[in-house]
Symmetry: C2
């Protein structure tokens, strides 16, 4: 879920809040560490480049797909091995009711702990749609980008995560002491909405260690093709669920598909589903109509609105519409309003409808079952539990209490204060690297940051990293290792940014 699909980052800000593209790009300054240390580490990063590339390729060759229960324990074991090789002294598998997690600590004897979140699973893929085998990690020249690794998980999230691991390898290879201790928590179910991630964090040892952390980042390729980066201060929550109407549960209609002529005297689970769905949104076709849905929705603050207004001013509505294949926003609203909606509005989306006969042409049946695949996007201060409870209460109240609400995963929204040490450190690193960046009040895409930013940890958390990639969840996913654009980091630049970041976190007030 972390990486929205292609065409989905129109909210990529171009606002220069603190950074400026300069010739000093990706050469971290002396503010963060002794320049001698940085130089030594840079040499080690360069020396380790080949091993680092191979680490990404080997990881791509070892995919875990939670939806298919593919390589579940193997993927966790592989994650453990990667952690051990990067210097983590304690590495353990954390059992859950689903796919196991991995917890690891690298205690460098430093004063502070920094939390790192990894996902070791990837999205499903169909090799027929790829121009090179999705598990090969082939290196190609991609026009407009440079040398890239093509493979499932390349940018979401194995490439960026491997860049972070490369930083740890470089510290050790150069004989430099890590300025902070690292606590790594990894899950293998991110792509199915992290249904058991909280179980991993609630492991007593994990919880006790995470409590000591300054904050948590998930490594990500945070630059756009033009070099600009966005620091998202938060992300919407997401809940995935299926609504299922069936004659069996309803006690009306058929328990198996019957001839469609019987519609004259037998109730239809498909019509029942349509009517239930129809009750979930208002007449406008998008505003949630579930009782109490907006009870805990916080309006945008003045600061959040100002950030959005600035972004609206500097970015191109026409380009965004073209990239998305969209002619009009909801209600024919203007660009800025559409961006405010994106940051502030909770949604109930139909991902898919599937019921009865779905093949070519028709088939004269009255289906016994119909389902809608739904995702909810939640904004502060909504929670997953409260939202699911309200949805069920709404269905029951309106005569649809028989409809199953099968939640497959999800989590609430995450939000981190702009003035937290984590966000300030990120800004400092980007500024020193000469990367123009903007602050986004909230990403409309989702990641399970709430596990860190919510109770009981209440830590700052966010995605962070230089470099770029694309095609997450799509064919020909890629991660740039040698950038043809001087404003965009390749693998070495991305690795060095993490080195600088760790020094910055150590210094943070």
């Amino acid at each position: 879920m972390t990486q929205p699909e292609n065409g989905f980052q129109p909210e990529r800000r171009k606002i220069l809040v603190g950074g400026a593209a300069t010739a000093a790009l990706l050469v971290p300054g002396v503010g963060s560490a002794q320049s001698g240390d940085m130089e030594a580490i840079r040499k080690a990063v360069t020396a380790g480049y080949g091993a680092s590339v191979k680490r990404i390729q080997d990881w791509i060759a070892n995919p875990t797909i939670a939806a298919e229960k593919l390589n579940v324990d193997g993927g966790a074991d592989y994650m453990m091995r990667l952690a051990k090789e990067a210097g983590f002294q304690r590495v353990k598998k954390v059992r859950t009711d689903g796919v196991p997690g991995v917890f690891a600590t690298l205690d460098a004897g430093a004063k502070r702990w920094m939390g790192i979140y990894f996902m070791y699973d990837v999205k499903q893929f169909d090799p027929a749609e790829w121009s090179s085998p999705p598990l090969e990690g082939r290196i190609i020249d991609k026009p407009g980008y440079g040398k890239v690794i093509v493979g499932r998980g390349a940018t979401n999230q194995k490439g960026p995560q491997a860049a972070f691991l490369a930083a740890l390898h470089a510290f050790r290879a150069s004989g430099r002491k890590l300025p902070v201790n690292i606590a790594l928590v990894a899950e293998g179910e991110e792509e199915i909405a992290s249904p058991h991630f909280m179980q991993i964090v609630q492991d007593p040892e994990v919880l006790a260690t995470m409590k000591k952390c300054v904050g948590v980042i998930i490594p990500s390729s945070g630059q756009g093709q033009n070099g600009a980066a966005t620091i998202s201060l938060g992300a919407k929550g997401a809940v995935e669920l299926e609504l299922v109407s069936s004659g069996e549960k309803w006690g009306r209609g058929p328990v198996r598909d019957i001839h469609s002529s019987l519609m004259a005297r037998v109730d239809s689970p498909a019509w029942h589903l349509v009517q239930a769905l129809n009750s979930l949104v208002q007449k406008d076709g998008h505003t949630p109509a579930v009782e109490g849905w907006f009870e805990h929705v916080k309006p945008l603050t003045a600061r959040e609105k100002a950030l959005i207004a600035e972004n609206a001013r500097l970015s191109s509505e026409a380009n965004a519409k073209k990239a998305l294949g969209v002619q009009r926003w909801i209600n024919d609203e203007d660009w800025q309003t559409s961006l405010e909606r994106l940051a502030s509005q909770p949604t109930i989306n139909i991902q898919g409808l599937v019921g009865g006969y779905t093949g070519p042409g028709g088939k004269t049946i009255l289906p016994s079952r119909a389902a809608a695949k739904i995702d909810l996007r939640l904004v502060p201060d909504m929670t997953k539990e409260d939202s699911v409870r309200k949805l069920k209460a709404h269905l029951a109240k309106h005569g649809f209490g028989d409809i199953e609400v099968n939640v497959s995963g999800g989590y609430g929204p995450t939000q981190t204060p702009e003035d937290s040490a984590l966000i300030r450190a990120e800004q400092a690193v980007l500024t020193r690297a000469g990367v123009s960046y903007s602050l986004s009040p909230r990403s409309a895409g989702s990641w399970p940051g709430v596990v860190f930013t919510g109770a009981p940890l209440r830590l700052p958390a966010g995605q962070f990293g230089l470099g770029t990639g694309g095609g997450a969840h799509a064919p020909d996913e890629f991660f740039v290792i040698e950038s043809s654009n001087p404003k965009v980091a390749g693998l070495t630049g991305a690795t060095m940014a993490y080195v600088d970041f760790l020094y910055e976190i150590a210094r943070a007030r």
Copy 2:
């Protein structure tokens, strides 16, 4: 469409209107022909039994499937060959905008013409679901039935149609003159709701010949497992269509699937479809809510209600519910009311819902397109054209004018007077054969009889035949060739019933 699926014939009447199960079963009496003629023909039918069985098997081995455009011309050519071999002197292919039809005449120099309707296409099938190859026509002993041919099309309608052809072969083999001339009109698109059948009948030569006919039958295996038969005086019309909501046609929402987080600011074609569908039925979840839908709906007559009441009294509601897997009728109505609904109510049924992601689990997309597969069932005096027009007008009026209404086939209801020569002849044949039968005002299943009973022909028309079978549209479809129940005709009995029927038509006043 002709043969409803298994479990769908609860309306099979057991009322003894004119027949009586007797030991004389399937021995037509002398009222219909000189007994010497009947005896000679029966000998020929018996002698031709092996060829007749093989004719069914060979036909099954040569399937035409209109939905897949499978063996379209080959199937028509095969139909032509079957007609020639049965003695039709003039046989021609009738081109349409879809699958071609076949027209054939057998002019015996008789005073009267009888129309026969054949379908040479069959329903799709999945060999994996069958216990013997669906195109083999294997003969097995089926408990409770006797010797049966198993194959796609066995009972729907190749078996019964071959029984009719066997009657023509027997007339010729025995040197007996056909008492009526035969006009055969065949189509290869019955299973996709006969979208071009009217084109076949409107061929000038076809129309001129059909106008001379006393009436039209489609051969069918009209007996239940217990031997009872139903004469349906009519059938509902059926229209198959897809309602498609797409960002492209709408001008709102995306033109291709986009990330689901964009639901916050982009309209959703899937919600649009849900709202459009919701407007089509009333709050009860079944009564059509399309403006003017009931404008031409004729209430049941006193005679029709009496026939239904009698059937309700004599048949088992519990058995029907069990066979259908249904616990309750609409509105918890009683048995008789459910039967009245079945005969009298027009319906809008959802056959299938398909939109966006339909695989396992979820996928975070906002789909650009969603569709509902719909069938309409029409009662007198509704027409296909008027109903589709009203549906489109309703959608436009309620803000859904962009939703495509893709009609793939269909036709209006068919009805034949109880006192027509055709129905009286059928009753006479059943009575002589000792088959208990009932009159049904209207079958809820559909067949394109309106092409004959409607303008311009306005002929009596109906399904007719002895014998039994099952599994139409389902795996292991079968047709009984040697019945283990003396009350049920096998292939020979079914053939002889057509012989008697032709004599009866010749005598009809």
